[in-house]
Amino acid sequence: MDITKEKLIELYEKMVLIRSFEMKAEEKFYNNEIPGFIHLYIGEEAIATGIIDHLRKDDLITSTHRGHGHMLAKGADPKLMMAELYGKRTGYCKGKGGSMHIMNFDLGVLGANGEVAGGLPIAAGAGMAIKMIKKTDQVVVAFFGDGASNRGAFHEALNWASIYNLPIIFVVEYNQYASTVNSNFATSVDNIADRAKGYDIKGITVDGNDLLEVYETAAEVISAVRNGSGPVLLECKTYRLKGHFVGDPQEYREDAEVEKKWKDEPISKFERYLMEKDYLDDETKNEIWSKYTKVIDEALEYARNDSFPTAKEALTDLFADDTGYDY
């Protein structure tokens, strides 16, 4: 596959954006500025980046509790994202959703989701509507975790997508853990992609830390699905470099394991590739990181300056004909 230098740098920047956002979010969480709990996408940036780049604005995705990366890759404004993490008024969900429920329908993000595997049935329904009623060539990408692949919803959604031949790419982010539980223990197969056979669909496993591999595979898969191939299960092997949530004591794994995995993390991996190709040098690299540090600093400033929604506004948005809690 021939990918221009510009595209490669664009992809690199997207990963840097996500990483920068996540690092700032982590810092501000520890600072007690961000309430609730947040799950970081650090180490998994290549997946959202490499896949979503092939999507159109009107393509749809469903995300997970670890959803910042998906949102940013789909074009979200870091300002409005950060404002949402802060629970502020102009955040994507007016502060009602927070990190775990960040979403924007105009961007085609049908929701980060606090329910593990909660997005899979939603993706199945979007695919159904597209294929059977709207008859457009939109596609749907459903992101979910290795842990999620053990929930019944996974099974039902894949069977469903298969029998109706829906335009859905099921992307499992195999980051080795479901909270404290290692997938070697809780998941009966080494490769989730092996489950594809049980639905008579194609299953593919790629190195999810290798941006190029993700990007190239996704190009093929998404175009096939858009052309009516039926659903595909795409497994991306990665590693959750941070705790399950910010503040996780991580008693269930050794520091050494994590340290080792840092050597394989997607951004420096891709940097090495770009540098080998002479597409990137230290100077440009520094420029790019500075650029996104600034972008995120501005987002932070924006979020901090934004006001909180009023208490009473808690009683709006449940129904379109708002009658609030008296309803």
């Binding site: 959703g97 329908f105 049935p121 329904g125 709207k134 469903w160 449940l318 809690y325």
Partner: protein, 325 residues
């Protein structure tokens, strides 16, 4: 106005069909609806007309329900059949954690026009797992409008509203009412949510009820009229929202309230009505508020036991005796 007689099931089909003709994004799916028209024949009236929009599904309740969110957000208007109210539980999280919350969690970004519909309540001798009435749960958890109609005319008009409004709705259709006939206006009309219907005016006791129990209550009212006791029978028709005004005004007039529902008495929706009314009309109450509901056990298969567990006209008559008239 010209009227025609039709069954409850056909009144639903008529409403859906009329709206399907106008709105090509309406479609309906669920288990066993396309081949044989629904397990109670309730989809028969739709077959042959919009077959590509009446779709059978696998037995996958979590996706059946959760898919409605994706379908609605992708720009369609799904009508999802839940087969038996009992099996709402098998996909419950997709309803309570997704359908009922996503609009709110998103900060009201977009409409979510979803209809969940299906048979609720008793179906004779179907035992514990096929005869539950679980509408009370959806009155407790916020996020869905709850419709529970008792007649062909009501179900038609409420569906017309449901299919032309922007929010999730769950319609509880009683298993024993699909075949019940009634007159329905030939002209199209809508019945707003939150507007109760006084099915019988009266002066002594207010009876608040829904669904099949409307008919049991009406029979009781007819019998009691012979002994000079006058019941005002109010059919709520929707539980979210529910028509406080009509109920409270009636109680202010009669001074007595009896709530009648088929679902379990304990912590059923009747408790909410009672709690609100005693708060809002405290000084008007001549007697305690009484409630008729199922006994607080699962339904038994054995016929006599089922009759004992499930409320009917006789329970209404017995409860009325408690009032000091």
């Amino acid at each position: 106005m010209a009227k025609s007689e039709m069954t409850y099931a056909d009144a639903i089909c008529r409403a859906i069909e009329e709206e399907m003709a106008k709105d090509p994004t309406i479609f309906t799916y669920g288990e066993d609806i396309a081949q044989q028209g629904g397990i109670f024949g309730q989809y028969k009236g739709l077959l042959g007309k919009y077959d590509d929009r009446v779709i059978d599904t696998p037995i996958s309740e979590e996706v059946i329900f959760g898919s409605a969110v994706g379908a609605a957000l992708a720009g369609t208007r799904p009508i999802v059949e839940f087969h038996f109210a009992d099996f709402l539980f098998t996909g419950m999280s997709a309803i309570t954690n997704q359908i009922m919350k996503i609009r709110y969690m998103s900060g009201g970004q977009r409409d979510l026009p979803i209809i969940l519909r299906g048979p609720d309540g008793r179906s004779n001798n179907a035992a514990a797992q096929h005869s539950q009435s679980i509408e009370s749960i959806f009155m407790h958890l916020p996020g869905i409008k709850v419709v529970i109609p008792s007649t062909p005319a009501d179900v038609y008009g409420l569906y017309k509203t449901a299919l032309n409004q922007p929010d999730p709705v769950i319609v509880f259709e009683h298993k024993q009412m699909y075949g019940r006939k009634g007159m329905v206006d030939d002209e199209e009309y809508r019945i707003p949510f939150g507007k109760a219907d006084i099915k019988r005016a009266g002066t002594d006791i207010t009876v608040v009820t829904t669904s099949r129990m409307v008919h049991e209550s009406m029979q009781a009212a007819a019998e009691l009229a012979n002994s000079g006791i006058s019941l005002e029978v109010i059919d709520l028709r929707t539980l979210v929202p529910w028509d406080r005004e009509t109920v409270i005004n009636s109680v202010k007039k009669t001074g007595r309230l009896l709530i009648v529902h088929e679902t379990w008495k304990r912590a059923g929706w009747g408790a909410e009505i009672a709690s609100v009314v005693q708060e809002e009309a405290f000084d008007y109450l001549d007697d305690p508020i009484y409630r008729v509901g199922a006994k607080n056990v699962p339904n038994s298969f054995s016929p006599e036991q089922e009759n004992f567990i499930m409320p009917d006209k006789e329970n209404v008559l017995a409860e009325v005796k408690k009032f000091l008239l």
